[in-house]
């Protein structure tokens, strides 16, 4: 039997406990800043988890994944701007528009491979970025403030920072569980097989394109949810959230944490955003330090932090 008490499992369990305790720490110290930071981390971990589904398990290097964060955010922001605050309308719309966009982007980009796929997903995301920039009614490139958070009357009050944090955390855990179910199902086997050897998949009788398209849509839809959360967290939405460097950040989280592992993206999101937070306090030029650190991980720890821990567990 596999050992449960490996270095990796202990680390992941520790990380999750830490994330559960963040609000407590905020209450005890009467300092809400960590809560704000960790809410952001959890939301981006959710986005990275959705990217991991296609990047880590499906081998699709989408360089435009942040587009769905923008779509989810704008769905919330635009409806709020027009006086519709109900989350029961905002969020389903966020998911629906994300899914439809992913269907459109995927149906074209998945006909290509490798660098072409990366470039096409990037091009689509940039196109959506400029669409957002051109939305004069909704703040154009300055973005717009969302004066009221999504309303879920009688269920949850998103303005309560602690409830909101636990909602985000719960959704993250649910998504990780969903991802884990998906990747081990028949559908997931097709996705993983297609990453490993798409030619062979077709030779044994799989029309792989349609499966890849569906998983691309699932990932986009989940990422749209993280966009709706992020807009609520910041009370603000602007085109900046869907700029291509944001898509790059998501890729870095997945690669840094460990591609194709359930908790890798969470580890990556926590590591990247905490490093960013810490280094930007040390120096203005923090990216000079962060860059080489990422290079080292990519060069010497192919499986990311998760891979290092798993290696330590075996050794």
């Amino acid at each position: 039997m596999k050992r449960m008490l490996t270095a990796r499992n202990v680390f992941v369990a520790g990380l999750l406990i830490l994330l559960v305790l963040v609000p407590l720490y905020a209450i005890v110290t009467d300092n809400l800043f960590p809560l704000t930071l960790y809410t952001r981390i959890v939301i981006l971990a959710l986005a990275a988890t959705s990217l991991n589904l296609i990047l880590g398990y499906g081998g699709m290097v989408s360089f435009g994944h942040a587009a769905y964060i923008g779509i989810g955010g704008y769905a919330v922001g635009i409806l709020a701007h027009e006086g519709i605050y109900s989350g029961f309308l905002q969020w389903p719309l966020a998911l629906f528009v994300s899914a439809v966009t992913a269907l459109a982007i995927g149906s074209l980009s998945l006909r290509t491979r490798g660098v072409y796929f990366i470039m096409i997903t990037l091009a689509f995301a940039q196109m959506l970025y400029y669409v957002a920039v051109s939305l004069d009614r909704y703040g154009a490139d300055d973005g717009m403030t969302i004066y009221q958070r999504s309303e879920f009357d009688g269920i949850i009050n998103l303005s309560n920072k602690i409830s909101f944090y636990y909602l985000c955390f719960g959704l993250l855990l649910a998504t990780i569980y969903l991802t884990w179910r998906i990747v081990n199902s028949r559908f997931g086997m097709v996705i993983q097989g297609s990453r490993s050897n798409d030619r062979r998949m077709r030779a044994i009788g799989f029309p792989t394109y349609r499966y890849r398209l569906v998983v691309f849509m699932i990932a986009g839809t989940i990422c749209g949810l993280s966009g709706a959360l992020l807009a609520n967290q910041t009370d603000f939405i602007s085109p900046a959230v869907m700029y291509w460097t944001r898509s790059g950040d998501l890729i870095v989280m997945v690669v840094l944490g460990g591609m194709g592992t359930p908790f890798g993206p969470v580890i990556g999101a926590v590591a990247l955003l905490l490093l960013e937070e810490w280094l930007s306090g040390v120096t203005e030029y923090w990216q000079i330090i962060l860059g080489p650190m990422l290079l080292l991980v990519v060069l010497f720890a192919r499986g990311g932090i998760e891979g290092l821990l798993a290696g330590a567990s075996r050794g």
Binding site: S185, N197, I204
Partner: protein, 253 residues
């Protein structure tokens, strides 16, 4: 031919100035083991590529079980029962041997839009996959990662994956490539067992194996069929001896 399972008519394929297939016409009756031989560059792999659907011919057509499959994509041909193995093992290296074969079973067990149940626990997939592994003699290697298997085992697994798709016909592209004499002998035994049940198109360099197994042999040179007939007839054919066998005999002798 009325009971031909695979019929090829006037199949032609050019790559710029190079002729890959030159008006190839061939019929493989049900139950036959038909071997295709020819020197390097004779267009054997080009032919398999067109039969499997990875390349589309410039002219001619391919009929499988009476149905024109010339324009069908690769996966549709597999679903009709035309299975292939690859000359260079083409497997899922990060999966176990059993996972590999189970995936081939899954491809022919209806659609795969099931998102919840663990596929590795489904008896419907693991059972038949285990049987396919047993047929090629890999039963006790099922749980080993494919990247850890030997070359010979990869070749066996190639066959197991083709078998797991419950095919009516096998396209085998040099199943003995890179095998030692002992492994080759085992592969010949395996193919002999399969011979009665399935129609097989075998491309192979190992002449000993070809003459031991084939019901009929077709000789390809520069993309063109120069002879087709029983092993005895091919052995006696002067043109073949000169173009192919003779060359090897001189080389060997």
């Amino acid at each position: 031919m009325a009971d031909a399972l695979l019929e090829i008519e006037g199949l032609s394929k050019r790559f710029g100035g190079i002729v890959g297939s030159d008006a190839i016409s061939l019929a493989v009756p049900r139950g036959e083991l038909h071997a295709i031989i020819g020197p390097n560059g004779a267009g054997k792999t080009t032919l398999i590529g067109q039969l499997a659907g990875e390349m589309s011919p410039d002219a001619g057509n391919i009929r499988f079980d009476g149905r024109d499959i010339t324009a069908l994509p690769v996966y549709r041909r597999s679903q009709l029962g035309l299975a292939r193995s690859f000359q260079i093992s083409s497997l899922f290296l990060n999966f176990t041997a059993l996972d590999n074969v189970a995936l081939a079973v899954q491809a022919h067990a209806g659609h795969s839009f099931y998102f919840w149940r663990n596929a590795r626990c489904e008896a419907d997939l693991r059972g038949p996959a285990g049987l396919a592994l047993a047929r090629v003699g890999l039963t006790d290697r099922g749980d080993v990662l494919v990247s850890k298997l030997s070359h010979g085992e990869h070749r066996q697994l190639e066959i197991a994956m083709a078998l797991a798709t419950t095919p009516r016909m096998l396209l085998l592209d040099e199943p003995m490539a890179g095998m030692g004499p002992e492994e080759s002998a085992r592969m010949v035994e395996l193919l002999r067992k399969l011979k009665g049940e399935l129609t097989i198109l075998l491309i192979e360099h190992d002449m000993e194996a070809v003459f031991a197994l084939a019901d009929r042999i077709t000789v390809l040179v520069y993309g063109r069929i120069i002879a087709s007939g029983s092993p005895e007839a091919i052995r006696a054919n002067a043109e073949v001896r000169q173009a192919y066998l003779g060359e090897q005999e001189t080389a060997n002798g």
